[in-house]
Symmetry: C2
Amino acid sequence: MCGKTQDQANATEQDSAAVASEIGGSGTKPNPSSLAPVNLDHGDPTAYETYWSKVGERSTITFTGDQSLSYFANAKNLCWFLEPKLEEEIRRLHHVVGNAKVDDHFIIVGNGSSQLIQAALYAVSPSDQPQPTSVVSAAPYYSAYQEVADLLRSGLYKWGGDAYSFNKDEPYIEMVTSPNNPCGMTREPVVNRPQGKIIHDLAYYWPHYTPITSQVDYDIMLFTVSKCTGHAGSRIGWALVRDKDVARKMVDLMVISTIGVSKESQLRAAKILGVISDSCLLDKSPGLENFFEYAQHLMAARWEKLREIVKVNELFSLTEYPSEYCLFTKEFTEARPAFAWMSCKSDMEDIEKILRGHKILARGGKRFGSDPKYVRISMLSRDQEFNLFLERLSSIHGITSGN
Amino acid sequence: MCGKTQDQANATEQDSAAVASEIGGSGTKPNPSSLAPVNLDHGDPTAYETYWSKVGERSTITFTGDQSLSYFANAKNLCWFLEPKLEEEIRRLHHVVGNAKVDDHFIIVGNGSSQLIQAALYAVSPSDQPQPTSVVSAAPYYSAYQEVADLLRSGLYKWGGDAYSFNKDEPYIEMVTSPNNPCGMTREPVVNRPQGKIIHDLAYYWPHYTPITSQVDYDIMLFTVSKCTGHAGSRIGWALVRDKDVARKMVDLMVISTIGVSKESQLRAAKILGVISDSCLLDKSPGLENFFEYAQHLMAARWEKLREIVKVNELFSLTEYPSEYCLFTKEFTEARPAFAWMSCKSDMEDIEKILRGHKILARGGKRFGSDPKYVRISMLSRDQEFNLFLERLSSIHGITSGN
């Protein structure tokens, strides 16, 4: 398993660098041409750049040279590297959106939710077991869970595979991703045995992606600025944690592995989350478009275009989502996930390979513990790349590998 | 060993939160009173705040809301999340100071050098060994090495203790810290067996702390903004890595554990490092005080005051450093380390306990694989705390635990 993980780690990096270089240079605005592949492998959330450029001054932040030198942000807090302003804005946003209960939870900030996954695994793994505790998730599952769980061949935990197959009478940890990455469906735990610890990854539980059907209240809930506002470059995630000992152990991991989290990113994230909350409140937002409405319309329009093309060419199919009442928008809506989970109608095909042959890079189903007939496609690219993707997809008329 | 690590992790966090709360509140300017302990346990480098407040506008940076949304910073680089401007300023600073060769090395940015230690251990650990590879360092060694090595009970590496005691005929990794944390001495590898990999931690190899006696050129060299400029809150470290495969594996770890490093911190660090380089070049720095000269004078003055007090009370002793020619300042100077490594003249005393009894918090020798008669004291606090420390130290006339 470890060798496999190593291969995967290498593959991840090589893929990242390779495909990244193909989308166009320096990480600034790409210039897709008919020759370069369009890279929708990652969920790089650049779709929201236009919104933020329209917001202007309100979302600008300045740092003087003598600011934030110290390791400490709030020495009185259990999470002593968490900026008080970020904590305040995280709590406010959850109150405004109504997606998660925060009043009885500790807030732990992390270098993206990736680090918080590791911190949560560390915190809930029993330390008295002879073997590492199994980490499971229902397939299709987020491809990073296996990478994180197996990265250092930990004696505390290891990847245990598809939660649907887990039937051992021993401690386990279940990652529950809802809405799910890659497929966008609402999820519940599937193992349901007495010795389990559950980590809820709620990165996509925001109104632009899915109807907010309840104010959830779990023991450990993970969120990230990346998918909420689009600021993936800031590497800010947060965990809402009910139990003080678990919260303390998560802080321990963060201290030993990185001695906390960038103060600049935290303060900027506080500013950005504040703008989003303000944008939802009429009295605070003269001239400021409601971010979630903006993003919801953007995503709905993209999904509509994609569904039209898939319907016409008849080779592929997309996941369908039920219409549900959203407590935030007060409307019945369908999910508009950050990723499209697309499959070949023909069972025997490797859809990642087919798309690659048509210069569309996406992540194949096998990486998610699923079948090569599935592929995950980011819906969060810039307009230019998304339109190029649609153009290329619509040009596929017969299934060949294209190689 | 793992249980011990866990205890240490808890101790670290509890210490951090507890002592932090004692230094005065929210992480901003503390207000030490005669009742509160002065916390010199951490090397929190707030001593340089005054310099940065004098620099003013030149070190200010502004971010607009639509900046740096993407995960990518430079898709063409092996380290694709490294901001090009930061890479440029790191290379420039090493050229200006002359402390390390950079032209034949890859630069990998990390969330502080803590993450780079983990990444380097991951990258150089052989993956084909039946047992985890031993990580060793010559005592007294930086207390975090053991914590990082044992944190997740990795099957790749584990803490192996004092390098002076390592005599196994098997692969090992030696951490060489020069100047050394805690004692400030120049260090070389001590094991010198054929199967070793060496990681050079050069966090303090800057002219304000030690004479720059050569332009070093090792396989893996770790640096951090925290100790160089004082911006610990930014969590930016960098590694200079000669071998491409090692560099790639370090990037792998960074991608899986945190998907890179805060763009805001990187861009601000680029700005700050740029100011420091400019401050060393007369033509670029009208009105800008040479940072290293400023910091060197500050440290020299603090060391002089401390040595005077220690000389008078006759209970303690301090490490002595040889005078060496510094290629940067073109003068013979002694080291003025970021930590004082102080001992009791009486062999039987626990100096950490003695100081604690006089409301001075510092880190005892046992944490560094040394004797309780030693203690590490940060020399990088703000003036107010440093002066309070001197005042309290000078009031100790007879050794009692003070409890």
